[in-house]
């Protein structure tokens, strides 16, 4: 058995099977167990490594040839495989509370398999093609979530503007990355032709600007979150942005002149802080819960770019990968809570969700604490790593640290505004939790995990510290 067959082929086949299953609970259970199983296999039987079970010797071949090209997952991808499928299991498990299992689990499994293929294809320049196929597959996922919301009587805007813009934006990015890849391969050893280097850099910049939804090419994200199910958007965009970042790091790792370029950190820093500040400040003025979460996600993209831009690459990568778990956890809890509130009110504008704390205490806590976690509030999951990043930025430049603080303040303020709105309830309303038991259990576990990771950040470190080693040069 080869690794691509196990971590790409099997999930694709499983996705088709899950689509055919009649009961949503069964889809959730099977999807979650399968994702956990794939995580377990990655842990105990990493690709390209021989394991002994008594007299039995097991080895998973790392490569598969597909239409003349290699699809390779080697031992260096072990941690990433564990992280991706572990994260998938978390999101799939959440559908117990929010529903939409057939869409999120079945299509989500296929999307994750395609995203894994994007990292496994050799040469990696073709990754953008697989990402684009995953984007196309996410259209029915987002659209079906929209139909479901509409069927539940949601007051979502009767348009597909956000979805269309998402499709356009992601599709425009792919050709730029492919062309940049071709030009870069011509200047692999060193920048012989300055004009060609500039052309390749501009194409690469444009491609990733579209792919990662950096400012100002990200107006579709809040619109999309407003139009469709927040949990679906949260799942999809967390996955897409994570793979987009890993692909960007692959480019930096592969080309020595790009890796050693003195301009690259400056460009990343500028784009990162611009994306972070605009997201943080604009979030503070929003009046729609899903849009706020979308701005939270955009801010995280800015934070990631800032982490990559740090002069000490090792620390930058450590911060980047350490933030993955708190981010996934916070966005998962946040969008799950919003989804629960949306099912009740059909509308996520402040006027519609006012005073819901007495009927949805745990969902309210989920919205507030996740928001605060992504704002870098002490004792919550993202705090230790955001704080480290902030300190590093302050050592480098005061204005950078100042703007980082402004963005965090914006996210913090909107958390307080949301808290005020959700608790603005008449005195005669009884405290009566209307969340279902699966929702209560999942939200409680999630909230506990947010605090646990914030208080004991070292818990996730054994897994995450080895992630940078997947890069040949950056990780060493």
């Amino acid at each position: 058995m080869s690794a691509p067959l196990i971590w790409i082929g099997l999930p694709l086949m499983l996705a088709v099977f899950l689509l055919l299953l009649p009961r949503e609970r069964l889809v959730t259970a099977l999807g979650t167990v399968s994702a956990l199983l794939l995580t377990g296999i990655a842990y105990w039987l990493p690709p390209d490594t021989t394991q002994r079970l008594g007299s039995l010797s097991l080895r998973i071949e790392p490569s598969l040839t597909l239409l003349g090209r290699q699809i390779t997952l080697d031992a260096g991808d072990q941690t990433l495989l564990m992280l991706v499928y572990g994260t998938a299991a978390f999101w799939f498990f959440g559908t117990f509370a929010v529903g939409q299992a057939r869409q999120i689990v079945a299509l989500g499994m296929a999307i994750i398999a395609l995203l894994m293929a994007s990292l496994a294809v050799r040469p990696f320049l073709y990754s953008a093609l697989f990402i684009q196929v995953a984007v196309l597959m996410s259209v029915p996922l987002l659209a079906s979530a929209k139909i479901k919301e509409k069927a539940h009587g949601s007051a979502a805007q009767p348009s597909v503007r956000g979805l269309l813009r998402f499709l356009i934006s992601q599709t425009l990015g792919m050709p730029f990355i492919l062309l940049a890849g071709f030009l870069l391969s011509g200047i692999e050893a060193g920048p012989a032709d300055v004009a060609q280097v500039i052309q390749a850099s501009l194409l690469l910049l444009l491609g990733f600007a579209f792919l990662l939804a950096v400012f100002p090419l990200n107006t579709w994200l809040p619109l999309l979150a407003e139009e469709t199910s927040p949990y679906t958007v949260g799942f999809l965009l967390t996955m897409l942005s994570t793979f987009g970042l890993v692909l960007a790091l692959n480019f930096i790792d592969r080309f020595s002149w790009l890796r050693n370029s003195t301009q690259l950190p400056t460009v990343l820093q500028f784009i990162g802080i611009l994306t972070l500040v605009t997201a943080g400040v604009w979030a503070a003025f929003q009046r729609h819960l899903a849009r706020i979460a979308a701005y939270g996600l955009l801010a995280e993209i800015g934070v990631s770019l800032l982490a990559i831009s740090l002069p000490d690459r090792q620390i930058g990568l450590q911060i980047l990968f350490s933030l993955l778990l708190p981010r996934t956890l916070a966005l998962g809890i946040w969008t799950m809570s919003i989804n629960i509130l949306q099912t009740q009110t059909g509308d996520l504008r402040f006027a519609a969700v006012q005073g819901l704390v007495r009927r949805y205490p745990l969902a309210t806590a989920g919205v507030i604490f996740s928001n605060l976690s992504l704002a870098g509030t002490p004792l919550l999951a993202a705090f230790p790593f955001r704080q480290t990043l902030w300190e590093r930025l302050a050592l480098q430049s005061f204005p950078l640290a100042f703007w980082f603080g402004i963005a965090s303040l914006g996210l913090w303020l909107i958390a307080l505004r949301t808290l005020a709105v959700l608790t603005m309830s008449p005195d005669n309303v009884e405290w009566n939790s209307q969340e279902t038991w699966p929702q209560r259990i999942l939200l409680s576990i999630g909230l506990l995990a947010l605090f646990l990771l914030g208080s004991f950040p070292q818990l996730a470190q054994p897994v995450l510290t080895s992630l940078p080693t997947m890069f040949e040069f950056l990780g060493k």
Binding site: G68, L167, L179
Partner: protein, 196 residues
């Protein structure tokens, strides 16, 4: 292949992509899209084996067919798009300007990528720029999908000169077909929402 045939394809591409921008009747749009794939096939065939180019042509026609079938059912709600600006003269002028800009930069583009001939660069840039112009002028899923397909076809024409891997060709065909299917899904969704 004689140069005159290649330039004839480029001329044909300019006609079809401009017509796509001007057309208000979806049936004509589908016909122009199909014709556009035929013209691009001649350009791609210059670099790729006949079978691979033919696969691209068939995929494009399938995409056009998918869009046409969907539009047939969604027709009552999507024929008249109230988009700005509506005037055909404005669109024609904009298309003319973009065409001029594309042709002016084609020479430079041909120098960028080794193996890329001037007619191919011209055809690709015409498709890319008019596809982008189309995308900038509409919020209608049907027209946006056509704009995206035009943009992608332009890129494929360009990329064919530098890459002839079967895997890449297969994935690009999958993306073309996937775009048409995703566009159809969005057209149906808009029609469904309007009918609700």
């Amino acid at each position: 292949m004689p140069d005159v045939l290649l330039w004839a394809s480029v001329f044909f591409l300019a006609i079809t992509s401009t017509s796509l921008l001007l057309s208000r009747e979806w049936r004509w749009s589908i016909a122009f899209l199909a014709a556009q794939y035929l013209a691009a096939f001649w350009l791609v065939e210059f670099h790729w084996p006949f079978t691979m180019s033919a696969a691209k042509l068939v995929t494009g026609w399938m995409a056009a067919a998918v869009l046409g079938m969907t539009q047939l059912h969604a027709q009552p709600t999507l024929t008249n798009e109230p988009s700005w600006p509506q005037g055909r003269t404005f669109r024609l002028l904009a298309a003319g300007l973009v065409l001029l800009a594309a042709l002016a930069t084609a020479q430079q583009m041909a120098g960028w990528l080794p193996g890329l001939e001037l007619p191919n660069a011209s055809g690709a840039l015409i498709l890319i720029s008019l596809g982008l112009l189309h995308l900038g002028m509409t919020a209608n899923p049907f027209r946006a999908t056509i704009g995206l397909l035009t943009f992608l076809l332009g890129f494929e024409t360009l990329y064919a000169a530098i890459e002839n891997s079967i895997l890449v060709a297969g994935l690009l065909s999958t993306i073309t077909l996937g775009l048409a299917l995703a566009g159809s899904y969005l057209i149906s969704l808009t029609a469904w929402e309007t009918n609700e």
